[in-house]
């Protein structure tokens, strides 16, 4: 189980990384923590001619607290978030989620940017960041752009990142201290990817409920979120949740339908409690 050969570069700043990416275009792949990419390369399930390692780029690990918003660099690891080493705008939601991703060794290296770029339908960060209404900062040959998570996530292992683009990081609006959040993950064993993942965020003015592992990508449950924001109780929400879940599942599956509804229900119960 060894990877096919590839060329390797380790740029020390963003400009060099962008240049390297531009020079090699489609045949090159960025690598951050390597915690998703290396297993795929080892298994030869992914092939690439060149790896451009973002590990030496300190800029990508930057974080900024701008009061109403925070910025988290793409290279920030799950462990840094778990350990509270970066500013938090989510009332602890991100710390909690981070601690439930994989295992400590993976968290010590896996990055938030890598996780989003990987776009695994069952991954934690896409679902959490979507619920937080985060936006991603991208830099590419055509300059910088800001996209919201809903536009960045496209499908299974698919984002709207353009060739040559790098995720710089994420901006997240600070939740009011009164905001409630919930993170409910169901998986086969501790540290495994979710079979179902529901995240709920509720403030006095809005609510957002997202579901991962149910579809080709993490999704906002639109009707559920609206009804929750409108102050409906759980009993009223139940049929709405069911419809939302059905609408995003690629094919009917009674077990998964029930599992997703359960996770969503539990997340909502938690924010309502």
């Amino acid at each position: 189980m060894k990877p096919a050969p590839f060329a390797y570069q380790r740029p020390s700043d963003l400009e060099a990384a962008l240049a390297a990416l531009a020079a090699r275009q489609d045949s090159a792949s960025l690598i951050a923590g390597g915690q998703s990419l290396v297993p795929l390369l080892n298994l030869r399930m992914t092939l690439c001619d060149a790896l451009i390692d973002l590990g030496a780029i300190a800029e990508l690990r930057a974080t900024r607290d701008m009061g109403a918003r925070i910025f988290i660099g793409a290279g920030v690891t799950h462990a840094m978030i778990e350990d509270g080493l970066v500013p938090d705008a989510s009332n602890g939601l991100m710390r909690k989620a981070a601690a439930h991703i994989a295992y400590r060794a993976v968290r010590c290296h896996g990055t938030i940017g890598g996780s989003v770029a990987m776009a695994d339908p069952a991954a934690d960060w896409p679902c959490v960041l979507l619920a937080l209404g985060a936006t991603a900062l991208l830099r590419g040959p055509a300059g910088d752009r800001i996209v919201d998570m809903d536009a960045l996530l496209v499908g299974t292992y698919e984002t709207s990142l353009q060739p040559g683009e790098i995720i710089l990081g994420f901006e997240i609006d600070r939740l009011p201290t009164s905001a409630r959040t919930a993170y409910v993950k169901s998986n086969r064993k501790t540290g495994a990817f979710a079979t179902s993942l529901a995240v709920a965020v509720k403030t006095d003015t809005f609510a957002r409920v997202t579901l991962g592992a149910a579809s080709t990508r993490a999704r906002i449950l639109q009707a559920t979120s609206a009804a929750l924001a409108a102050g409906q109780d759980l009993a009223t929400l139940e049929p709405i949740i069911a419809r939302d879940v059905t609408s995003i599942m690629p094919q009917p599956d009674a077990y998964l339908q029930n599992l997703h509804e359960t996770c969503v229900r539990r997340a909502i119960a938690e924010v309502l409690a």
Binding site: A4, P5, K189, G191, A254, Y255, N258, L259, C263
Partner: protein, 784 residues
């Protein structure tokens, strides 16, 4: 000294810390992958991507012809006959590399050699395998239909062997007052030693022999197979099993890759190495379980079991592995169906079926986890049907101590023990009444709680009679020990069993220390090298403590007697008046140390009694007085909570009451029990290799093949009782497998208990959240 159960010196029964730990803790152990030889190159295999196909040809990538080997490069390799020596067992010739046909996804087709494994894999990727795909046979029951595709031309159907096991008052079953029909399925999994398989081989010119480092449970038997396959005399093959990182049955078969590696070593002028990777392990190493039961339990209205009838299908995969294939699965599954119960009739048709999946081999517990799952689920289902406590129904049917020895309807002679006591102890440990009141106090929305029991027996120490009855190609009816006291009085003992975690360096030293009157630290146990150890069969079937323990004990005892006689001579005392004490021979006030005795025996023969042979070295073999085996047993009780919305099970408590006869080292016994249960939990809740309709395996990495970890496996509470065996040295019985036998049954019973109110049935392992939820839904749908 002698066969007393508890020694006065305290070594038998002492929880001595293990002698093998230090090198592992220092990171200085040596596993096969750690062997370093100059010029060594790596091997990677190109494997079949399809489940069933006619192999038209294999093309070697250009430029790499000399580095790629196919079966055509080995014209003199012999295909080993495997399976039992029964005419009724059909042969499934399994070449070292595919020839003529491929029969499962992952079957090795070509071997590629390169300076690193990565480069060998590069070459393997370029090998083109030209196959005409044939319909895949993936369902063992459908495989028996006359219209099914066949794996082997010339076979009248897909069964390796079909047999009916019938005994007792079979006609009673037809009109039994209660007849309950159920189907059970224990799905296919892998053995998953954490160290995968591996083999390093080269021709040693000086010794004129093939040196093979092999991760195996029994080097001597593997050498026999290798010699036959390669056409070499056995004295030109030396197998070394260094540290072995777990086996569990999977390393007790000779696999084609290992033969291929050795065959290549004979063709090239440098060492070659193949280290199985995890995907290869899950794809193409020994697979196991995969039992299908379709049974009816027949009983009186009061719950007294009358008999069991029905069919058992074993999905044995594409080939029989050398030496014994998987033929024991079916007969042991059927033979263990009566479990520890008084059953008056048994009538079971067994089918060992060839399918387009990796070959099946033994895995901890061999067949009994499936049989235990079937019978123990049937008992619970019967109890539910009759409206009685499963515990009470077990009590009604369990063989009693007074009935011992008890020969079961399938002919197993349960030798000693008190099965009722084990069950009672386990029941006390979990407190059924408390669980019942928790259950009735449960509010809607809360998790469900259930308790489940399973009683098991574990045959061990079975010898010639039992194995030759099974028509085994290799009859592991004895073990040998070579006990050697060196001139300074220190002791080396060479044994033919293989330690791969069982702690033999410690337990066997305890036994020898007991017999020789030494401290275990003065005794070194050596194994795993065919050049230095006496012939032996290796470690499997819970046999080592009985056989190797017996061989070490009896041979050490003989050597102790010689030491005593020499001591008496040196003390000029009457042999009748001297005894051994703590490394000395003592006569009244006088004593002589072992080092003086050993010096005399080895290098100062003039000091020996007249006519006595020099040296202090003896080799002896051992087989228990009766070879039908001795039975360890136990009762498992588990409490689970089930989240009925997600189907997730959590183990709240796990209690075991067990009896494995005399314990040489209780700490190690507890380790075996706990470790076996972890594997049983894997079988019961997590581990599975499903296949799609085309025969593609769907779990080939740990992302899909779920291994239980510390968050999934609780620390088990263990209660021991000790009924020494009557026919073994020290009264020992084996303990390696028992832990793994009962958990799937106990867990399924506990989950079923949690859903007692809706009578849901949980009859397929692993009990995944989906299976649990779906079974509960099905029960609710049909409940009145």
């Amino acid at each position: 000294m002698g066969a007393d159960a508890h020694s006065s010196d305290g070594w038998i029964g002492a929880s001595l810390l293990r002698k093998e730990d230090a090198r592992h803790l220092a990171g200085k152990a040596m596993f096969v992958a750690d062997v370093r030889l100059p010029g060594m190159q790596d091997i990677a295999f190109a494997r079949s991507q399809i489940a069933h196909g006619r192999l038209n040809g294999v093309s070697k990538p250009s430029g790499y012809e000399a580095q790629v080997f196919t079966i055509d490069d080995f014209s003199s390799l012999q295909v080993l006959e495997a399976g039992p020596e029964l005419d009724a067992f059909r042969q499934s010739p399994y070449p070292a590399l595919a020839s003529g046909k491929v029969r499962y996804v992952g079957q090795a087709v070509a071997a590629c050699v390169a300076p690193t494994r990565a480069r060998a894999e590069d070459i393997a990727d370029l090998v083109a395998i030209d196959c005409d795909e044939l319909p895949a046979v993936v369902d063992a029951i459908a495989a028996m239909s006359p219209t099914s595709a066949r794996l082997f031309e010339g076979w009248p159907d897909n069964a390796y062997i079909t047999r009916t096991i019938g005994a007792g008052e079979i006609p009673l079953m037809k009109d039994a007052p209660v007849r309950l029909h159920r189907k059970f399925r224990m799905n296919r999994q892998a053995t998953v030693s954490l160290e995968t398989r591996g083999c390093v081989a080269y021709w040693d010119a000086r010794l004129d022999e093939l040196l093979v480092y092999l991760s195996t449970q029994g080097g001597h038997v593997m050498r026999l197979g290798l010699a036959r396959a390669l056409g070499l005399p056995e004295n030109q093959i030396r197998v070394i099993a260094p540290d072995v990182g777990g086996g569990f049955g999977g390393k007790n078969r000779l696999l084609p890759e290992e033969i291929a590696v050795c065959a290549i070593a004979l063709k090239v002028d440098h060492p070659v190495r193949w280290i199985e990777d995890r995907r290869e392990h899950l794809l193409a190493s020994v697979h196991c379980r995969d039992h299908h039961y379709d049974l009816t339990i027949c009983a009186e209205r009061d719950g007294t079991i009358i008999g069991i009838e029905g069919d058992v299908h074993i999905d044995a995969g594409a080939y029989a592995l050398w030496p014994t294939g998987s033929f024991m699965e079916a007969s042991m599954a059927a033979g263990n169906l009566p479990g520890p119960y008084r059953v008056r009739a048994l009538n079971v048709n067994t089918y060992t079926v060839a399918t387009n999946k990796a070959p099946m081999g033994p895995y901890r517990g061999v067949a009994r986890p499936g049989a235990c799952f079937a019978i123990e689920r049937l008992v619970d289902e019967l109890a539910l049907h009759l409206g009685v406590e499963p515990y009470a129904l077990r009590k009604l049917n369990l063989v009693t101590r007074e009935e011992m020895p008890y020969t079961t309807i399938a002919g197993l002679k349960l030798d000693t023990g008190d099965y009722h006591d084990a069950l009672d102890t386990a029941a006390k440990m979990v407190d059924i009444a408390a669980i019942r009141s928790r259950q009735s106090a449960r509010k809607p929305g809360e998790k469900r709680i259930g308790v489940g029991f399973a009683v098991y027996t574990e045959q061990s120490g079975h010898g010639v009679v039992e194995w030759s009855k099974r028509k085994s190609r290799v009859v592991p009816g004895y073990e040998a020990a070579n006990v050697r006291m060196l001139p300074d009085g220190s002791v080396n003992i060479h044994v033919g069993v293989q330690n791969h975690g069982q702690g033999h360096e410690t337990t066997l030293a305890q036994i020898a220390a007991h017999e020789l009157g030494l401290h275990p630290a003065q005794i070194k146990i050596r194994y795993g090298d065919t050049a230095t150890t006496p012939f032996g069969f290796g470690t499997f079937a819970s046999r080592s403590i009985v056989f190797a323990g017996g061989a070490v004990g009896t041979t050490s005892r003989k050597l102790a007697e010689k030491i005593r006689l020499i001591g008496a001579h040196l003390l000029q005392a009457d042999p009748k008046s001297v005894h051994i004490d703590n490394g000395t021979v003592v006569s009244g006030a006088g004593s002589v140390s072992f080092s003086e005795i050993a010096l005399a025996a080895n290098v100062r023969q003039e000091m020996l009694p007249a006519g006595m042979e020099p040296t202090l070295e003896m080799t002896g073999t051992y087989e228990p007085k009766e070879s039908a085996g001795v039975f360890s047993y136990g009762a498992h009780a588990v409490i689970v909570s089930v989240d009925e919305d997600t189907g997730r099970v959590e183990i709240l408590d796990y209690a075991v009451a067990e009896d494995c006869g005399t314990m040489i080292n209780p700490m190690i016994v507890d380790g075996q029990v706990q470790g076996g249960i972890a594997q049983g939990i894997g079988t019961g809740l997590f581990e599975e290799i499903p296949f799609d309709a085309a025969g593609q395996p769907l779990a080939t990495t740990f992302a899909d093949y779920i291994m239980p970890c510390a968050t999934e496996v609780p620390s088990v509470r263990i209660a021991h009782s000790t009924t020494p065996a009557l026919v073994t040295e020290y009264g020992v019985k084996g303990v390696g497998e028992g832990g793994a036998i009962a958990p799937p049954a106990a867990l399924a019973n506990a989950v079923a208990d949690a859903f007692r109110d809706c009578k849901a049935s949980f009859n397929e392992t692993p009990l995944t959240p989906r299976r649990i939820w779906e079974a509960a839904q099905a029960a609710r749908g049909t409940a009145p």
